[in-house]
Structure formats: C-alpha cells, structure tokens
C-alpha cells in the first residue's frame, strides 16, 4: 500500500508516494531519477550507494524508505553550490587524481562529506574510518586520502 513520504532532499522539502518495501536507493534512482548514487552490490558491502542522512553516512541500499520520514537527506547531487560551484571535496578529487573509473566516487565523496561536516581536522585514522566502507578497485585509495586532506585544509 502506497504511503506519503515527506523529507528534505538536498535542501528542498519534498513529498512523494512510496511503497513501504522500497529502499532509499530505489527511491532516489528509479523514482526521483537521481542517478548519481550508485548500486554496487545491494547488500551494504561496498558503499557505492552512500548518502548522508541527518549528518550520518549510510548505505541507501539497505535504508528502508519509511525511515526517511522527516529526515534531511543529502546525495552527491546536493553538495555543490546552487550556482554550480563545486564542493571542495569534488574539486580536490578532480585535482588530486582520485578519480579513475569514477563508480565509487559519489559514495566515497559522501562518506568524506559526512566526516568533514563532523570534524574540521580529521587525522589519517579518522579518514580511514570514514571511508573503510567504500570499496575502490581502481585507485588503490592513496590519492583519495590525499584529496580528502586537501579538501580538509581548504575548508579549514
């Protein structure tokens, strides 16, 4: 039975009809047509589907859509400025060579986004903790860590 869901998506209050068994990932990609969040495995084991809910990074492929009620959701489409200016993380990922095939990138950036929103000066341990749930097969992670450090310095 369809239910009405009201929540804040990327800064905008929205209202949408959902089936209760949907995951947030399904709602974002298939219904709202926001394709930036990716499905890598569907079981919460790769992090490609990471979005930020009330400041916390979560795997949207396992997040029941009804739990989104009244919450604040941010996806990769929501972190650049309204005028199109990129978020420092996005800029740093580009400049530091942290993007190869790019499939893990939206999820990776959202995990880093949640980290930098919570901690202004995370150390290497904090960074690893924040992205240990985001698998990347191309980059070997080193340049991703560099990019997060560069973004952190620019935002600080």
């Amino acid at each position: 039975m369809k239910k009405i869901l009201r929540f804040n998506l990327n800064g905008e209050e929205i209202e949408v009809e959902v089936e209760p068994h949907w995951t947030l990932l399904y709602l974002l990609r298939e219904v709202l047509k926001l394709k930036g969040t990716k499905e890598g495995c569907g079981y919460g084991e790769c992090g490609a589907c990471t979005v930020v809910i009330d400041g916390k990074a979560v795997n949207s492929c396992l997040y029941p859509v009804m739990e989104v009620q009244g919450k604040k959701v941010i996806t990769i489409e929501g972190i650049s400025k309204p005028d199109g200016d990129l978020h420092p993380l996005q800029r740093a990922f580009i400049e530091e060579g942290a993007v190869q095939c790019g499939f893990c990138t939206p999820g990776m950036i959202m995990s880093a986004y949640a980290l930098l929103e919570e901690k202004k000066d995370p150390d290497l341990e904090d960074i690893k903790e924040a992205i240990e749930g985001n698998l990347c097969r191309c980059t070997g992670y080193i340049k991703i860590i560099d990019a997060i450090n560069v973004a952190k310095r620019r935002m600080g």
């Binding site: 926001l34 394709k35 930036g36 969040t37 990716k38 499905e39 890598g40 495995c41 569907g42 079981y43 084991e45 790769c46 490609a48 996806t75 990769i76 489409e77 650049s80 990129l86 993380l89 996005q90 990922f93 580009i94 400049e95 530091e96 060579g97 993007v99 190869q100 095939c101 790019g102 499939f103 893990c104 990138t105 939206p106 950036i109 690893k128 992205i131 240990e132 749930g133 985001n134 698998l135 990347c136 097969r137 191309c138 980059t139 070997g140 992670y141 080193i142 340049k143 991703i144 860590i145």
Partner: protein, 760 residues
C-alpha cells in the same frame, strides 16, 4: 626536454562529470519503452537438460519474451574456439551456464518470471580439476570434441634446454599454483540493445573492444538472418575494466535477441551475485618451472610446463600462454627456453583476460624460482638479477627487439630504497625484503593481424579541437593523455582539446584497450594526426602572418613569428580567415597508426611489441609468526615508462595496480566447491579496503622510447605483474619459508612454519 603539457599532472578530463554524479554508466541508461532482461543460470555444474518448461513464465503479466536455446540459430557459438552457445541445450557444463532468458517491463517481474521457469535435469558426474579431467575414465564435457584437452598449440622452444640443463652449475625445480581471482569492477556488467526500424543494432556497452565487438555482433546478426546491417556501439562511462570486457559474453547476444524479438530496447545488468559467478575471472595455473645458471650466476635455461583449468567453455584465458611466453623467454637474459602449456576443459568457470593477461601468473613462478636459484647458488638475489638484467638493444630468444630498457635502474633503485644490503637476511626471523621484476609489452602487441588505431582530428573556427579516437577510456585516462599529446603537438591547451572515444558511428577503428597499448598506439595515432593538422595550420598561418612556415611557433592557441614575436595571430582568427571565405577550407586530419611490431610466427617467435616496459617492485614485510599474518612495511614500485606523459594518472595506475597485486598475493581467491562458487560477494571475497593500504613509493624511470609518443611506453598492466613474487620473496627472507601457492594466507604461513620447526 621541455614540454608545455606533456609531463604535467593534468586531472582526468571526465572527472568533473564523475564527482557530480552526472557520468552515465550502463545502469543509468534509460530508453523509452525499455524492457529488463534476466537470465536463468544452471542449477548443476554438469547435467543433461531433459526439459525446459517456460509456459508459466510466458503467462506472467509484464513478460514480453522468453528465450531458450531453440530461439538461437543452431550451431551459433561465440568465443574464439566457437564452443560457447549463448543459451545452452542438451547439456549444461557449469553453474554459470545460461539456460533461458526473459525480458519484462520491470526488473522485479523479470526476476519473478525466471523463478517460474521449470527445468528438468539429469545430473551427471562432474570434473573439477584439470588432472582428473584428463583421466581416461573421466566424463567428456564437449562430446562433439571428444576430448577434454583443448587443441591449442602452446609450445615455445629456444635453443637447447636439455643440453643447457646438463651444463648448468646450479639447477632448481619448483611447482607453483595460482588461483582464480576476479576483476571486481565496481560497476557490474550490462548492456542495452535495440534495433531501429531497419534492423540496425545499437548497443550501449561497456566493451573494451568496440571495433571487434561490432564485428562479433554483425556476425550474430547475419546468423539471425539479418544481412548487410549496421552495428553501432555506444560506450557508456565504464565502471572498471581490467580486462573483463575484452571478450563478448553470452548475455550480450541474449540481450540482442530479446531486443530483436520484442522490437524494444532491452537492458540486462548483472547483480553483484551474477557479476561474481557469471563473469570470467583470471586464469588459474599450475606451473612446473626449472631454472639454472652457471658458476658466475648467468642464467643458462628456463623450462616451464603449465596446466590450465580451462573451465567449461573457452575465452581469452586459454590464450594467456601466448603472453606468458613473454616473461618466460624474455625476463632476464636466458638463452635456452622451453615452454609448453595444456588447457583442459572442466566443469568450472571459464577465464578470460585480466590485467597482466597471464604475466602475473608466470612472473610469480619465474621470480620465486629465481630467488630459489639465488639461494642454491649462494648469489644474492639482487646480484643475480643485475647479472642477468636485460639491456637496451638486445634481441631475446623469442625474437623481441628490446629498444629502451631501464631494468637495471629499476632494480638498483628498489635495492637502494629498501636498504637491501642492510636488511637482507637480517630480519631476525620476522622481517624481510624481497624483489621481483617484470617485462611487459609497452609498444602495443600484435595479437591480431592489426595492432592499429585510427584518429580523426578536426579544428573548428574557434581554435578548439575534437579528436575522434578508436581508443576507449576505461578509467585509465586515455581521454586525458590523448588530449595532452594533441595539445602539445599543436600548441594549444588541454582544455581546448575534446576527445571523443565512445561511438563506433563516429570513431575510427581500434583493436581494443588491452596490452597496455593505449598511450603508445592511440597516442601515436593522435600524434601523427596532430602533426598532419599542424602542417596544415602552419600553411595557413604562414599566409596570414606572411612569414615562412619554419619561423612559426604556436603556444597556448596563439601563433607567433619566432624572429619577430610581435607578429602574432590567435589560431581561431587564422582559421576563420581560411574557412569563412569563398573557396574556404576546413581543418581536418587523420592517421591510422599500426606499430612496427610483428605477429608471432608458427613457433611463437617474433617481435610482438614495438617497445617493452620493464620494472621492479621491492617489498619489506613483517610476519607475525604466531598468527601468520603479513604486514607490508614498505613498498617500492620502479617502472621504466619511457616518458611519463601524465605523472598524476601514471601514479594512479601504479597505486591501483599494486593494491590489486597485493590482493592477488595475500587475500583474494574465488572458492569453488564441486563447481559452485562459495564466496561470490564482497564480504567473503577479500578485495582490499582503505585500511589495507600500504604506502607505495613510486620510482619513474624515463628511458625516452623513440617509437613512443613523446617517448612514452605502456603502464596500465605492469603495476601488478611482479607484486606476488616480490612479497613471496620478502616472506622467504623473513621466515625462511617459501609459499608456492597463491594467495599466501596466514594459514599457509603458519602451517609452513610449524612444518619447518618440526618436520615429519
């Protein structure tokens, strides 16, 4: 040499699309009226199909087509041995065999329909390893072939191995085994197929071989009775390749047939489960190797015998021996070489290309064995390598013409940075250092009759350039490197160059993204095309500035007279003058570059590549002797790349390759039991996370390869070729135990340590 743009750390051109979530991958593709396809895979690894009942599936609301083998032309087979029908009939030979397929208006209905298909099997006994499969009393998989041993000619003989063996001062013999590992591309496989009103096919695809795939699909269309049609391949943003998309798969032909039957676009995208069990992994190997040297440590011979589990059908895994010959014959100077490889059908999964294409497997054996030889002969492994290191100008026993070769520099750098002399043999039973080298093709590889790549380049009235290349970008940075080469040659900025690489309607022919050939071959193709364009530009500018052509220099899109710099004109204006007038001309150039390399002859000899890449990796490890866990303390990767066109992207290739290599060495393996994959998910298949990262020191050796664009050679694969033996050799130095079977797990180390301290 002073370059403007070559050698600069230029960010990847499509990165902005990727960081904003705007890049379109295969699962993001949505077309009007699109249907979703799903495949039913076999329940058993070896069985006769007695009956397939699709009636319930066909009746399900929303299902638009159901296919079984009878819908394909009889005898339609794919794969280079033509032994693989897209949908199976008669017998199934593995648990990844495709039995039926449906398409429906939603993925959920498609999945429900699959579950409604009823298949009656007669289970047959299966064989799950090549040795058993070769026995007289073992079941034959392909009954029409009559044998489980593939008729493949893998045999290389150089010199006289028997004689050399007798004359050697030291000889070692070992057997090494390597496991199945899989690509784990973060985006799963998939395609969208649709036909236009005239039955021309368009495929949205992840393929790494657009031109060859076009050919494969055209053959399919002909088999379906569609003659004289067009096939257009549009590559989406590819979420990882690593060789997994070097062959065409049954699911693609299934999507095509579903699209033909329904007259609607059909999308098939694998779930992660399917990606694990239904795509083709890296070829596993059993390798018996013997090497010898004289009293001075000069290698005398290398004899290698390999057995390959071919799986149920044949893909590129069966051709990895043709690449394994390369390190076997040409890694270090070894005058006498003998190599044979046998591929055997089993009821297991079948393998295809994966980064390195057999080289990692062979190098693991060669470089581990070399350290054994070092021990036997009393010569330090570093010295043994330096004594036998390849040098520029040599011709190897297989006929490779080595042009540039920075191997000695790589070995030296690694030894220096590891503090080899201080650390080797002094780890007190816990720490150790080890190294291993690599050779790989670096100037294309004439695997097919052509190793070519075409480029068309046009400049518009605004001084902006579009480069249409046959090459593909699979995340490695081809789009950016090609832009740099063109920008450097013409004298414009990288921003002003747009590289179009993903539409066969528009892009010229290329043999594919393999063999680390893109920078070299596609780069050269673009370079020569850019040179032709520059010649035309100089002609135009000469008239505009009224100076001779050799007096002109172009920088950042502006042309100057060298002798009189005040005489200048922006390119855009000069071109407009030439074009926007009566009798005007347009500015285009093209070049098809086919490197100066050779097909291997019937004896597998010849100069396969126009240049060869070399490198050495060194590792310092610490072994926890109570748990068997290995910690990598230091990793040095030295690579002879000719010239680093883009150090940022190059480092990215090395870091990525090294981490994949560490996974190959220590943690990754596909666990099959009785033909079933037991760990087909990210929890139980251990690719490495950020917490497993080790600091990697990269050393770039630039030997300036004359044949390469601005001196460059290939780097895509070398990053993971020597990783496993470097780690294995370091472990040996630490604890005196040699693990010859990948992956080197804590259990294997602990067991070996126990056996060493109390031998039975």
């Amino acid at each position: 040499m002073n370059f403007n743009v070559v050698g600069q750390k230029i960010p990847k051109k499509d990165a902005p699309l990727k960081v904003t979530g705007q890049a379109i991958y295969i699962d993001d593709v949505e077309l009007p009226g699109m249907l979703y396809g799903k495949i039913l895979f076999s329940k058993y690894p070896h069985a006769r199909i007695l009956n397939i009942d699709t009636s319930k599936a066909e009746k399900l609301f929303g299902v638009k087509a159901v296919l079984t083998a009878k819908d394909f032309p009889p005898n339609f087979r794919i794969g280079f041995m033509k032994d693989n029908p897209p949908l199976k009939s008669g017998k199934v030979l593995s648990t990844r065999d495709e039995i039926a397929a449906v398409c429906a208006i939603s993925p959920e209905i498609a999945e429900e329909a699959i579950n409604l298909i009823e298949v009656e099997y007669e289970v047959l006994p299966g064989v799950f390893d090549p040795i058993t499969a070769m026995r007289e009393d073992s079941p034959i998989l392909h009954e029409e072939i009559g044998s489980n041993v593939l008729k493949l000619p893998w045999k290389l003989t150089c010199g006289d191995v028997e004689k050399a063996k007798k004359e050697s001062a030291y000889v070692v013999e070992d057997t090494f085994t390597t496991q199945w590992v899989t690509h784990c591309c973060m985006a799963t496989s998939g395609c969208v197929a649709y036909f236009d009103v005239n039955n021309n096919l368009t495929m949205y695809s992840n393929t790494q071989i657009p031109s060859l795939a076009q050919n494969d699909f055209l053959e399919a269309l002909q088999a379906f009775g569609l003659k004289n049609k067009r096939v257009r391949i549009i590559q989406v943003t590819i979420g990882g390749g690593f060789g997994s998309k070097l062959d065409t798969y049954p699911y693609e032909y299934i999507a095509i047939l579903l699209a033909l039957k329904t007259r609607r676009p059909v999308k098939i995208v694998f779930s992660r489960d399917e990606e694990f069990f239904a795509t083709s992994p890296r070829q596993c190997t059993i390798t018996k190797i013997s090497q010898g040297c004289d009293k001075e440590g000069r290698l005398t011979f290398r004899e290698v015998e390999m057995m390959l589990d071919n799986g149920a059908y044949t893909s590129w895994g069966a051709t990895t021996p043709s690449v394994m010959m390369m390190p076997i014959s040409s890694l270090y100077k070894v005058p006498n070489v003998k190599y044979t490889a046998k591929c055997v059908y089993t009821n297991n999964t079948y393998c295809q290309a994966m980064r390195g294409y057999g080289n990692p497997q062979a190098t693991f054996a060669i470089e581990s064995s070399l350290d054994h030889l070092a021990e036997e002969s009393g010569i330090d492994p570093y010295d043994l390598r330096m004594i036998n290191a390849n040098e520029p100008g040599e011709i190897t026993p297989q006929g490779f013409k080595v042009t540039t070769c920075g191997l000695k520099e790589c070995i030296e750098e690694v030894a220096k940075r590891l503090n080899w002399k201080e650390k080797r043999g002094k780890g007190q039973g816990k720490r150790g250092v080890g190294m291993a080298s690599l050779i790989h093709v670096g100037g294309g590889a004439r695997v097919y009759k052509s190793d070519g790549c075409g480029t068309i380049i046009k400049m518009d009235d605004f001084g902006k350039v579009d480069v249409f290349t046959g090459a593909s970008d699979i995340g490695q940075g081809a789009d950016t490197v090609i832009a740099q080469i063109v920008a450097e040659e013409i004298g414009i900025t990288v921003e002003d160059v747009n590289v179009i690489h993903n539409d066969t309607d528009v892009c010229p022919w290329d043999v594919g993204v393999h063999a680390s050939r893109t920078t070299f071959v596609a780069g050269n193709s673009a370079l020569y095309a850019a040179r032709k364009m520059k010649a035309k530009l100089l002609e135009i500018i000469s008239k505009v500035l009224e100076v001779p052509e050799d007096d002109i220099v172009i920088k950042n899109g502006v042309a100057y007279s060298k002798s009189n710099p005040e005489k200048s004109v922006p390119l855009a204006r000069a071109i407009r003058r030439a074009h926007f007038t009566r009798g005007g001309c347009m500015l285009m150039a093209e070049h098809f570059y086919d490197p100066n390399n050779e097909n291997l002859d019937k004896e597998f000899k010849g100069n396969l590549s126009a240049a060869y890449a070399y490198g050495t990796h060194g590792v310092e490890v610490e072994v926890d002797t109570e748990t068997g866990k290995v910690k990598i303390l230091k990793y040095v990767a030295a690579h002879d790349v000719g010239r680093a066109i883009n150090p940022l992207l190059l480092e990215g290739q090395i870091y990525g390759g090294v981490l994949q290599g560490i996974g190959y060495a220590l943690s990754e393996r596909m666990i099959y039991e009785g033909g079933y994959l037991k760990n087909g998910n990210f929890l139980d298949y251990k690719i490495l996370t950020v917490r497993d990262v080790v600091p990697v020191e990269t050393v770039i050796v630039e030997t300036d390869e004359k044949e390469g664009p601005f001196g460059a050679k290939g780097i895509g694969e070398p990053g993971l070729v020597p990783t496993a033996p470097a780690i294995a050799n370091a472990i040996y130095d630490a604890i005196g135990v040699r693990i010859k079977d990948l992956p080197i797990t804590p259990e294997k180390i602990l067991r070996a340590l126990k056996e060493k301290s109390s031998p039975k």
